[in-house]
Amino acid sequence: MMPSTETYLSKSTAIAARVLGDETIIMSTVDSTIFMLNPTGTVIWLSADGQTPLSRIIEEKVCAEFDVPVEQATADAQDFVSKLAEHGILVVSDRPLSPKEV
């Protein structure tokens, strides 16, 4: 599903992850695939609390920190979220998620 901007993100529990500086390393515990997130990806990752909608993450975190136009940030973020969701790294929902639901 292509995430809309009223999308809620949560970190999967089937991963190992560590923020190193402004990058993040993530490994799937299902198939051991490794991901490295750049600073923008890291900002989105850190904000994936299941409660904050993606639109707010983009506006308040991505655009504010990286001085990027909203339209571009939104397109990039949606692409990024889709890829991670496909690999089971992010859990995506159209409503807020509690930790138990993840």
Partner: protein
């Protein structure tokens, strides 16, 4: 460059302990003849202390975490520790003899998302394996456990540690691993005891047996490549370090002692007295270790085996000099290529009756 190499490089540049090895106990229900531990359980860190260490490691940037022992499942809080480690986002490997793993434990390990379980199997023959572990029935129990783990979907890797007693069993153990659908590695290095006692190294396989292992395609892959003669040491190599111990790898004992690696028992500090970060970034011992580059090693920097040598600074340390050679790795280089190392050449020319130096007494802090 692979993502893993990239990560290691970034961690190295930033001095981040990307990998940590934590022994949660040295107690064990086996008494392997080659074991480098003394199995003392007095004074182990409590559950709370271990959790605090894990939190500190996570805050320091550690990502890869090996939990081992002794036998870690002898700790009643082992699963609690594993669960806590996973909650902190570590990629967790568990090293165990697996004799205490049944279907329930295997399912739990799967549920926790443990990356891999590493298990030692010494032989496909129970009489050989059990004689090494000194636990009757241990091979049967270990193999049953591997069955439970694979059935539960947990990745397993078998390590086949070679010694005199099982030197001829490596291929059979490899076949056993293949039949069970699990990964396999062979390791011919017997590590001296952490208290400095070298007597167990007498169990090491002979030079001839080592050479045979290194020329067995099933075990090493392309023999021509593996045993290729040496390369010239280039500047990059000489400006580098032997391994990641103390650079991006840390070891913590069940009693809180921090070493560069489990095979490098140089006490750098104790987490019961200082924070891990204080030890990692400010201990005199680690500062000195990190300053040592290959070019600073008097003998090894001039050795023709160069970057092909598996030189372990920990084994060198245990032989009395962390800037010196590791005789076990010299033996491996010679067995691989037929060419003696710089150190071996010197020994043979100058001291035909050379024996090992006095024991290095390693006192934990």
């Amino acid at each position: 460059m692979s993502l893993l190499d990239e990560m290691n490089q970034k961690a190295s540049a930033q001095g981040i302990p990307l990998t940590a090895h934590l022994d949660i106990t040295w107690r064990c229900n086996e008494r392997c003849v080659h074991c480098y531990l003394d199995h003392d359980g007095e004074g182990e860190m409590s559950t709370a202390e271990i959790k605090d260490v894990l939190t500190q490691l996570a805050d320091s940037g550690t990502f890869f975490l090996s939990i081992s022992g002794g036998e870690p499942l002898l700790r009643r809080d082992c699963f609690e520790i594993l669960e806590y480690a996973r909650k902190l986002g570590f990629n967790v490997k568990l090293k165990t003899n697996a004799v205490m793993i049944g279907a329930t434990q295997a399912a739990r390990l799967r549920q926790l998302g443990i990356e891999q379980v590493q298990i030692s199997v010494y032989s496909h023959l129970p009489e050989v394996h059990d004689a090494i572990t000194k636990l009757p029935g241990s091979l049967r129990r270990t193999l049953e456990a591997i069955g439970h783990l694979t059935a539960a979907g947990v990745k397993v890797s078998i390590t086949n540690m070679l010694m005199k007693q099982n030197a001829t069993n490596a291929k059979a153990v490899m076949q056993l691993a293949k039949d069970m659908g699990v990964a396999f590695t062979v390791d011919p290095t017997i590590t001296p005891m952490l208290n400095g006692d070298r007597s167990i190294t007498q169990l090491s396989i002979s030079a001839e047996e080592l050479e045979e292992i290194f020329h067995t395609e099933e075990l090493v892959g392309n023999v021509g490549e593996f045993c290729a003669p040496v390369s010239e040491a280039d500047d990059d190599f000489l400006e580098g370090h032997s391994c990641s111990a103390g650079h991006t790898l840390a070891y913590i004992s069940p009693f809180g002692d921090v070493y560069p690696c489990v095979s490098f028992p140089m006490p750098c500090g104790n987490v019961r007295e200082k924070t891990f970060r204080e030890i990692w970034y400010h201990s005199d011992e680690l500062t000195e270790l990190r300053a040592v580059k290959i070019k600073d090693l008097p003998t090894c920097s001039k050795c023709s085996h160069g970057s092909y040598c598996s030189r372990c600074p920990g084994l060198a340390y245990m032989e009395g000099n962390m800037r010196g050679p590791s005789s076990a790795d010299c033996a491996k280089s010679e067995a691989r290529t037929g060419i003696p190392s710089a150190w071996q050449t010197i020994q043979r020319q100058t001291q035909p009756n050379w024996t090992y130096p006095n024991l290095v007494q390693i006192k934990p802090m």
